[in-house]
Symmetry: C2
Subunit: 459 residues, 2 copies
C-alpha cells in the first residue's frame, strides 16, 4: 500500500518535472537509456553473428539472402511490432576465381602485385590482359596524355589519399574519383584496363575494392585496385625504365539480377502513427571480408535503437522504423525501393538517420537540411555531450536515407571518428575483431538518443 | 630576383596578419603543423621500435635501460638542442616463472584459471598457496565478513568495472580500489592471498596486471589478477557449493633497486629561456606486453611535439622539454626525481602536459588549475576543433607532471577517447597493432598545438 502511494506521488512528480524541467527529464531518461545500451550485449552479439556466422553479404549472394532472414529475427527479438520485407531487384556481381597481377619485365623478371577487381568490373577473361602500363597521378594528367598515348595501355592511377585531411571522408571523396570514374575515363581514351591505388589511409598490403562505374558510350574495361604498398612498388619499378608489361587476370562477372529485400522493423507511434522516423544501415557488404564496420555496425545499431528504447519502456509518439537496406554498395536498389514505396504509399517521413560510416566512437551528426533546421537540432548537443557527441552540423546524411529528402524528410548521418575507417574500408581487414564493443554501443546509444529527442520534440 | 621581392612582401604581410589576425595566423600555422604531423612516419616508427624491437620496459629491466638509450637517440633525431639523463633509483620487480591458478574441488576436479601477479606483489613461493576462497563484491562486504571469516582464506574480489561510465577512467578509478588496496585490506583480516577481477571494460581471457600496495603494519600477501572471463567462471564454480580450494602459484619478487633514468630533450627558448614548458609520457611499461598505448604512445607523441615544431621552423619563446619519465607504473620515482631536480635547480615551470591515457583519437585536454586558468586555456578550443579537440576543461593532469603543480606549474593531460583503453591496459594485448597510426598522430598534433599556443600566449 505504501508502495502504491509512493508510485502515485512519483507520477505527479514526473508530470511536474516534465513540464518544468524538460531538459532534466531528458537527461535522466538518456542516462537510463545509456545504461541499458552500455550494459547490453545485443548489438555486439548481433554483429558477431552477421560477421562470423554469415560473413560477406554482397547483393545477390546466398549470404546476403541469409542476412535478410537473420536480421528479420533480430528485429523481432528487439521488439519491433511488425517486421516485413520490401522485395527488389539487385545486381549480382561475383568476383570469380583467383585474381592475379604481375609486372613482366623485358629482363624476364615477374613481380607479383596484390590486386582485387573493383566491384561491378568486367573480368579480363581466363587468358588475362597483358599490356604496357602508364602511371598517372591526376585526371588532368590522363587528359593531357590523350588517346595517342593511352590507347592499348593499362592506366595506373596512383593518386593517394591525402593524409592531411583530418576528416578522412574528405580524402576519400577527393581521391575516390579514380576508383569511381577512372575506368570510364581511361576507356574513352582507348585504355584496355585500369589499376587504381587503393583508397586506404595508411600503407597496407591489402587491396581495397569498391564500385566502379562505366560510361555506356565506351567499352567496359577491367578495373582493379592495387594495395598501397604494391602501388608504391609498381611505381618504383616503372621508374626503373626497364621495358615491361603488366599482366592482369580477373574472372569477375555480372550475373543476372536477383531478387532481394530491404528488411523493415516497425514500431507504431502512439500520437502521430502516420509520421515516420527511420533509422537505418545497409545489410549488404563487400565480398572480401565480413562487412563489420561497413555496414554491419550500422545494421546492428539501427536494431539496437528499437531494442533499447523498448527496453526502457518508452512509447514512441511517431512511428519508428529500423530499415536494413539492401545493395548500398553496388547499385543502391534498396534506397530506391524504400523511396518508391514511401511515395506509392503516400507515407509522411519526418526524419531519417543513417549509420554508414563505421562502428567507431561517435563524435556528431550531420544534417542534410536548411540551416534553421540544423540549428533546431543542434540545441540537443548539451544532452549528448556526456556521451561524446559534440557536434550537430550541416552536411550529408547517407546513400540510403538521402533520397527521402525529396519527399520532405530531414535526413541525417551518424558521424563517428573517421581515423581508422580507411584502414579497413572495403578490404579483407573489415572484420568483427576491429570493432570495439563500447564504441559500437556508444554510437548506438547516441542514435537512439537523437531519435528519442526528435520523437519528443519534433522538428 | 622576383622571388625575393615576393618573399619580402610575404614578411610584411605576415607581420600585418600577425597583429591584425592573430587567430588566422595561428590557424594557418596549425594547419601547416598538422600537415607535417599527419604526413610524418616518425612517431609511428618510433612506437614500432619501442614495441617491437625493445618490448616490455618495466623499471629495472634490461629493456627499460635499452629504452633509455634508444629514446635519447630519438630525441636527438627529433631536433632537441640537448638531451640528457636524470639518474634515479627504481624498484626492480620481476614476475618470475610460470604463474598458475587452479580451483581444486573435493570431487577431484581441477579447473585452471587465467591469472597474473599484480605488480610489486610478493610471490607464493614454489610450493604455492592452497586455501578456501571467499568471494566479495565490495570492500564493505569484506569488512562485514571480518577476520573471523576471512582468516586463512584467499579473498576473491569480483567487483567489475561499471560499463555505464562513459568515461572509462571513472570506472577504473571506482573499481581500481580492489587492485590497489585489496591485498592490504584483506591481509589486515588474516587473508593469505587475494585474487582480483581484472580491470577490463569487456569480457576477456587476458588478466590485466597493475600495481598493488601493501600496508606495512600487516603481512604482504600474494596478489593476482584474474581475467574477467575466468572471474565469471570462478564465481559460477563457487556457487555450485562444492567444497573447493584455490591453488595459486607465483614466483614474482622484488629485487634490489636499480639505477635508471628520466630522459630529457631540451629545446632552448628564444625569449624566456628560463621558463620551462614540459611535455611528457613514461618510458617504463608493464611486462606482459609491449606498452604500446601505456605509454609508448605518450613517449613518441612527446618526442613528436619537438620534431614537428622544429620541422615547421618554429622558434619557441619558452624552453620546451620533452621528458620521458621512468617508473610511472610501479613507484613514480621518475616524477619525484624530475620535481626534486626542478626545485634544486630553482627552475621556473610554466606548463606541463602529459600523455598517458593511450594513443587514441584525441577529444580534449584536462587542466589541473583554477577555473580562471582553465577558462584562459579554453579560448583556444576553436583553433583545435578542426582536429577533433572540443574540450579543455578542469581535471587531473597525470602522475608524472602532476607534482609540478607544487612549484607553480599549470599541469594538463591529453584526453583521448577512452572506449578502447581498458581492452588493452596492463594486459598482454597492449601491442603495437592496436594503435592506429592516424589516431596517434592526431594526438601528437593536438599536443604540439596546445604547446605552441601556450608558448605564444603564455598563461
Amino acid at each position: 500500500m505504501q508502495r502504491r502511494i509512493i508510485l502515485g506521488l512519483g507520477v505527479i512528480f514526473s508530470a511536474f518535472f516534465c513540464s518544468a524541467f524538460g531538459q532534466q527529464t531528458d537527461s535522466a531518461f538518456l542516462r537510463r537509456l545509456s545504461m541499458d545500451v552500455m550494459n547490453s550485449a545485443a548489438a555486439y552479439e548481433n554483429l558477431k553473428f552477421l560477421c562470423k556466422k554469415i560473413g560477406p553479404r554482397l547483393s545477390g549472394s546466398p549470404q546476403a539472402q541469409e542476412a535478410v532472414l537473420v536480421s528479420q529475427k533480430m528485429l523481432k527479438a528487439a521488439g519491433a511490432d511488425t517486421v516485413y520485407l520490401q522485395p527488389l531487384k539487385v545486381p549480382h556481381w561475383v568476383r570469380g576465381g583467383r585474381e592475379q597481377a604481375e609486372l613482366r619485365q623485358a629482363n624476364g623478371k615477374k613481380i607479383a602485385l596484390a590486386i582485387c577487381a573493383l566491384g561491378n568490373s568486367v573480368g579480363t577473361g581466363q587468358k588475362g590482359i597483358t599490356a604496357p602500363v602508364i602511371q598517372v597521378q591526376t585526371m588532368a594528367e590522363l587528359e593531357q596524355l590523350g588517346a595517342a598515348t593511352i590507347k592499348g595501355k593499362i592506366v595506373f592511377f596512383n593518386g593517394g589519399m591525402n593524409p592531411a585531411h583530418i576528416q578522412t571522408f574528405n580524402a576519400y571523396a577527393e581521391t575516390g574519383v579514380f576508383r569511381r570514374t577512372g575506368a570510364a575515363k581511361a576507356a574513352r581514351l582507348g585504355a584496355v584496363a585500369v589499376v587504381v591505388r587503393s583508397l586506404a589511409s595508411n600503407p597496407t598490403n591489402f587491396p581495397h575494392t569498391g564500385v566502379t562505374s562505366y560510361n555506356d558510350s565506351f567499352p567496359k574495361i577491367p578495373a582493379v585496385a592495387i594495395s598501397t604498398n604494391d602501388a608504391d612498388k609498381l611505381s618504383r619499378l616503372l621508374m626503373q625504365k626497364i621495358a615491361s608489361e603488366l599482366f592482369l587476370k580477373t574472372t569477375c562477372a555480372m550475373l543476372p539480377d536477383e531478387t532481394s529485400f530491404n528488411v523493415v522493423g516497425e514500431w507504431r507511434g502512439t500520437v502521430f502513427p502516420e509520421k515516420i522516423i527511420t533509422v537505418g544501415g545497409h545489410l549488404d557488404s563487400w565480398d572480401l571480408a565480413e562487412g563489420a564496420h561497413d555496414d554491419g555496425a550500422g545494421v546492428v545499431q539501427s536494431i539496437e535503437v528499437i531494442r533499447a528504447l523498448k527496453a526502457t519502456a518508452y512509447k514512441p509518439r511517431h512511428t519508428l522504423r529500423a530499415v536494413l537496406f539492401m545493395n548500398e554498395e553496388n547499385g543502391g536498389a534498396g534506397a530506391k525501393k524504400y523511396l518508391e514505396l514511401a511515395v506509392q504509399n503516400k507515407e509522411q517521413h519526418l526524419f531519417a538517420l543513417e549509420s554508414d560510416a563505421g562502428g567507431f566512437t561517435p563524435r556528431g551528426f550531420s544534417i542534410d537540411a536548411a540551416d534553421s533546421m540544423v540549428a533546431k537540432l543542434a540545441v540537443h548537443v548539451p544532452l549528448l555531450l556526456p556521451y561524446g557527441v559534440y557536434e550537430i552540423k550541416k552536411g550529408g546524411s547517407g546513400a540510403d536515407v538521402g533520397p527521402l529528402k525529396t519527399i520532405g524528410a530531414v535526413t541525417a548521418g551518424l558521424r563517428p571518428d573517421s581515423q581508422r575507417y580507411f584502414d579497413v574500408h572495403h578490404a579483407a581487414t573489415d572484420v568483427f575483431e576491429t570493432v570495439s564493443r563500447r564504441e559500437l554501443q556508444l554510437g548506438a546509444f547516441n542514435m537512439a538518443a537523437l531519435i528519442y529527442l526528435v520523437d519528443q520534440y519534433g522538428l
